[in-house]
Amino acid sequence: MASTFSGDETAPFFGFLGAAAALVFSCMGAAYGTAKSGVGVASMGVMRPELVMKSIVPVVMAGVLGIYGLIIAVIISTGINPKAKSYYLFDGYAHLSSGLACGLAGLSAGMAIGIVGDAGVRLWLSMDSLSVSSSLPGLVNPEQNRVQSSETWVIAGRLHLVVSTPILAASAV
């Protein structure tokens, strides 16, 4: 009866809450990033419709955060099997911490992507009224530099997440 179930009784509570935290907070970050940069893209697109498809990059990066949360939540939730492998409170707390790490890092990365994406996309409007495909070479380079620097902020926000989750998910396994 209980002999097939080894480990502490309430440890799965913390494990499942860790999986929940991983997904829910990452989705919060992804939603904030998508919504905030989407609003920026829409307001910019009214003035410059040809630049909208180029400005989808922050939205895609914010969506990827949701996928990170999904992966970690599935890894944690399939690792909670007290009949196959004993599941002590240590494992429960480790899963909770890895889920919180992934989720809260995703939340902060998503907020960063949203704010930077919104501001970066509106940078297009602060250029001159000349379009990006202008034939004046002197004005094309500064535009590209400004856009590239804002995209590196977006990438930096994502790298933080990529580094933190494998470290803490490995501690759970």
């Binding site: 179930f5 480990g7 009784e9 309430t10 499942f16 999986a19 929940a20 989705c27 829409a42 697109g45």
Partner: protein
């Protein structure tokens, strides 16, 4: 089993006293209640912008109803998962309600409900905000509608993530009576 009770931590002594059916019921309620909250929030954000923009540009109304439909889908995800979770509930003899196996099933349903509820809440909000800016930019320039709709599709994927993880986690909700019968066979 008596050795693990109360030995582990103070959280355990409190959690072990709570019936798994309490956790399951609260999980199912959160799955549907918070999802519908997210859908409603998204619909009112989109709808109010849509109606306001349609005063000057009445052509946008029928196309932009798709944003409202995306928000509604979030509520439907909540309903589906709540129905799936309540079919996972089984009645267990009262001597076995506090078995470790049934406690784990209760926690799995609770966590699954929280995941689906809150993922759909933020998804509904996201789709609502983007839908409102889609309506406003469509009123200015109708070529923008499809482009902003692409962003909205990225937003609605978040609700799907919640449903997928909720269903995967609900597969963990196995109650002891079933496993005892299998042991006897």
């Amino acid at each position: 089993m008596a050795a693990t009770l109360g030995d582990s931590s103070s959280w355990s002594t409190a959690l072990v006293k709570i019936s798994p059916y309490t956790f399951s019921a609260v999980g199912i309620a959160i799955a549907i209640g918070v999802s519908v909250l997210g859908a409603a929030w998204g619909i009112y954000i989109t709808g109010s912008s849509l109606i306001g923009a349609a005063i000057k540009a009445p052509r946008i109304t029928s196309k932009n109803l798709i944003s409202v439909i995306f928000c509604e889908a979030v509520a439907i995800y909540g309903v589906i998962v709540a129905i799936i979770l309540q079919t996972k509930l089984e009645s267990v003899p009262s001597s076995q309600i506090y078995e470790p196996e049934s406690l784990r099933a209760g926690y799995a349903i609770f966590a699954s409900g929280i995941i689906v509820g809150f993922a759909n809440l933020v998804c509904g909000l996201c789709v609502g905000i983007i839908g409102s800016s889609c309506a406003l930019s469509d009123a200015q320039n109708s070529s923008l509608f499809v482009k902003i709709l692409v962003i909205e599709i990225f937003g609605s994927a978040l609700g799907l993530f919640g449903v997928i993880v909720g269903i995967i986690m609900s597969a963990q909700a196995t109650w002891p009576a079933k496993s005892i019968l299998l042991d006897r066979i």
